[in-house]
């Protein structure tokens, strides 16, 4: 599924300073029953966001109108657990384009990039600086410059560069997906497959 190309993003951010946020929390299994990719944003962090009677939990960050933005800032080891891409869909469909953490689980990171979310790894110290900046002012703006691979806390002008391989970067900058790339390689793949032992 094509997504919007990603260049430079300036936005406020939503802080979620919790470690080991697993994909079962991002989207609980009972919401994986759809046969199309629709409505996942509504159930993002469902059980942290709503009581069992579906009333919002007041103290959860997404229910606090003070915090808004296209950037989600998570604690260490974000996205661990289940490989469900639905977790990345839920984050994207809710309106986030970028997730920042000091450490991501592998599958989540792949899934995120495959659907047009930019996962940015910053140092643990820089992550703390981001959390403090939001804490002192929820209106703090951040700038993500993908072409130059720089993440900046605009109010304080602190910045850090981030890594991304040039293939994935190019995909995000252009809104390309891997499938089109691979489909173009089918002939090469078929030749390769010809002599497999099984």
């Amino acid at each position: 599924m094509a997504y919007e190309a990603f260049h430079v993003l300036e936005s406020t951010a939503v802080p979620l300073p919790i470690e080991n946020v697993d994909t079962d929390q991002i989207i609980p299994a009972r919401f994986l029953k759809a046969t199309e990719r629709i409505g996942f944003g509504e159930n993002l962090f469902r059980d942290w966001r709503y009581h069992q009677d579906d009333t919002p939990k007041k103290d959860f960050i997404l229910n606090n109108p003070t915090y808004r933005g296209k950037i989600l800032v998570g604690g260490k080891n974000f996205g661990s657990g289940s490989s469900r891409e639905h977790a990345a869909w839920a984050i994207y469909d809710y309106g986030f384009r970028c997730v920042v953490s000091s450490f991501f689980a592998d599958i989540f990171k792949n899934n995120a990039m495959n659907i047009g979310i930019l996962p940015i790894v910053v140092s643990p110290e820089f992550l703390s600086a981001i959390f403090s900046a939001i804490e002192s002012s929820p209106q703090t703006r951040f700038k993500i410059d993908l072409p130059n691979q720089i993440f900046t806390i605009l109010d304080s002008n602190q910045s850090q560069s981030f890594d991304i391989n040039s293939y994935k970067k190019n995909n995000l900058l252009n809104g390309f997906d891997d499938i089109d790339f691979l489909v173009d390689k089918r002939e090469e793949i078929v030749n390769f497959a010809f002599d497999r032992p099984f």
């Binding site: 599924m1 919790i18 470690e19 080991n20 697993d22 079962d24 929390q25 609980p28 299994a29 009972r30 994986l32 029953k33 759809a34 046969t35 199309e36 990719r37 059980d47 069992q52 604690g75 260490k76 080891n77 661990s80 657990g81 289940s82 490989s83 469900r84 891409e85 639905h86 990345a88 450490f103 991501f104 689980a105 592998d106 599958i107 792949n110 899934n111 495959n114 659907i115 391989n165 040039s166 293939y167 994935k168 997906d177 891997d178 499938i179 790339f181 691979l182 489909v183 390689k185 089918r186 090469e188 793949i189 078929v190 390769f192 497959a193 497999r196 032992p197 099984f198």
Partner: protein, 464 residues
């Protein structure tokens, strides 16, 4: 410089490498189920792309299926819809589909090995993180997301950066009553749930060599819970004996040809790993978890650590204990249990049922606990019946259900109610994993058995 087992398998599947980008990795075997495939098939349809090699993909129904009355139509509408779509998609593309009631039906990671789909030296993927299970055969096997399922259907390949390599060596010999599950939970408790992130693990040492294939699968299954991309073990005579004569295993000339390749699958003595971990079997006892991630495990006789003793965030640790309704410093032994779940791709194989049955034999199910015994596949269910384990279990007051993922992720009706405690042989104790508000204690089949007859967390070594 020599190559590791992982290098050998990975490198021989690289169709091409993109500079400063991922490898194009050829996939030998692809497993699909009803939950993570519908959107992939839908996208193929929209693009008008056909499945490239339908005979390299295998489909089963497991994640949201009921574990009773499987002969009746599935009641829950959305689940029924997902099953119907999978069946249709499989038919449209000519993919073998083993739906509910089919003799080959079962949990995707249980049926792969049973049918000879899982082979040494193969690359195997599935839209499920516990695909790491198949690494027990010396395969490079890992979980993928739905976009990647689509890639594999369309091109039998995937774009992946090559992970780093890690070796986990466990020295010595396991004490009695310590099972494969305990070894894995112990490793995770030592290195944490992110300890192997970015890496592919190879398990080495006599402990793993001496495990049965079922035990090896349990260990590799839990690799993902250390954060690893996957885990694997070098194939040996035990592996070859296991796969021989299974339905999809190569035979005749093809077997010999494959065997030539399989015999090269070991880590060269001068190969280098990015990380090495050494652990000692004598330090391992039956394990239980007390918190809300699989790294929060302790020996069953130990006490829950104090917040001040753990590394990582104290706040997260306290939040986790709050969820569980436990206090720091408390013993786990004697804690009351409401539910016991034996099953999942971690511990739903015949050996797990044998171990459970052996402990409960001659005893009665505790009246205070609900017990769900869910075989990983029809094949396992048939084995349970033919080995007479079934009768033993019935005599002790247990019932055996029909196969599926069941309470491992509680997408069907098998949900642990909010606030209740379950000793579970599955793989994740995340908040709400087994139902909203459910509290999960991960353990081996024999710790589960001891809980099933006593209604409490009980050391199977002291049960008489």
């Amino acid at each position: 410089m020599g190559k590791t087992l992982f290098d050998k398998v990975w490198d021989s599947h690289v169709v091409d490498s993109i500079s400063d980008g991922p490898d194009i990795l050829f996939i030998d075997r692809h497993l699909v189920h009803e939950v993570t495939s519908p959107v992939a098939f839908l996208n193929l349809k929209r693009k008008g792309v056909q499945v490239l090699y339908p005979n390299k993909t295998f489909a089963t129904a497991d994640h949201n299926t009921p574990t009773i009355n499987q002969h009746l139509p599935v009641q829950e509408k959305q689940s029924a819809m997902q099953l119907k779509m999978l069946e249709e998609n499989a038919r449209t593309h000519g993919i073998p589909y083993w739906g509910l009631g089919h003799r080959k039906n079962g949990i995707v990671h249980v049926i792969g090995p049973e049918n000879g789909i899982t082979l040494p030296g193969a690359t195997i993927v599935c839209g499920d993180s516990h695909t790491s299970t198949h690494g027990a055969f010396g395969a490079v096997a890992f979980g993928i997301g739905t976009s990647e399922v689509e890639m594999v259907l369309a091109t039998q390949s995937i774009l992946q950066p090559k992970p780093k390599k890690m070796r986990i060596h466990v020295h010595g010999e396991l004490p009695p009553s310590v099972l494969a599950k305990d070894v894995a939970l112990y490793i995770i408790s030592q290195i944490t749930t992110s300890g192997a992130t970015g890496h592919f693990v190879e398990y080495t040492g006599d402990v793993f060599k001496n495990l049965t294939m079922e035990g090896r699968m349990t260990v590799c299954n839990l690799s993902i819970e250390m954060g690893a991309r996957g885990g694997m073990m070098a194939p040996d005579e035990k592996t070859f004996q296991y796969i021989k004569h299974r339905e999809y295993t190569p035979y005749g000339e093809d077997w010999h040809r494959a065997m030539e390749y399989w015999q090269t699958l070991y880590t060269d003595h001068d190969a280098v790993f990015d990380r090495e971990i050494n652990l000692y079997a004598e330090d391992i006892e039956p394990m239980v978890t007390y918190g809300t991630n699989p790294g929060m495990g302790i020996g069953i006789s130990k006490t829950i650590p104090k917040a001040s003793e753990v590394c990582g965030s104290q706040q997260a640790f306290k939040k986790s204990l709050d969820y569980m309704g436990y206090q720091e410093g408390e013993p786990m032994l004697g804690k009351k249990i409401d539910y016991v779940f034996l099953g999942s791709c971690t511990n739903g194989r015949i050996e797990d049922f044998r171990a459970f049955a052996n402990v409960v034999k001659g005893k009665k199910k505790s009246e205070d606990v609900h017990v769900w015994l869910v075989p990983g596949s029809h094949h396992v269910l048939t084995q349970i019946k033919s080995e007479g384990i079934f009768q033993n279990l019935i005599d002790s007051g247990f019932e055996v259900r029909e196969p599926g993922c069941s309470a491992c992720l509680a997408m069907n009706d098998d949900k642990i109610p909010a606030g209740k405690y379950a000793v579970s042989t599955s793989n994740r104790n995340f908040e709400g994993r087994q139902g909203p508000g459910a509290r999960t204690i991960l353990a081996s089949p024999i710790v589960a058995a001891a809980a099933a007859v006593t209604g409490r967390v009980t050391d199977p070594r002291t049960l008489n």
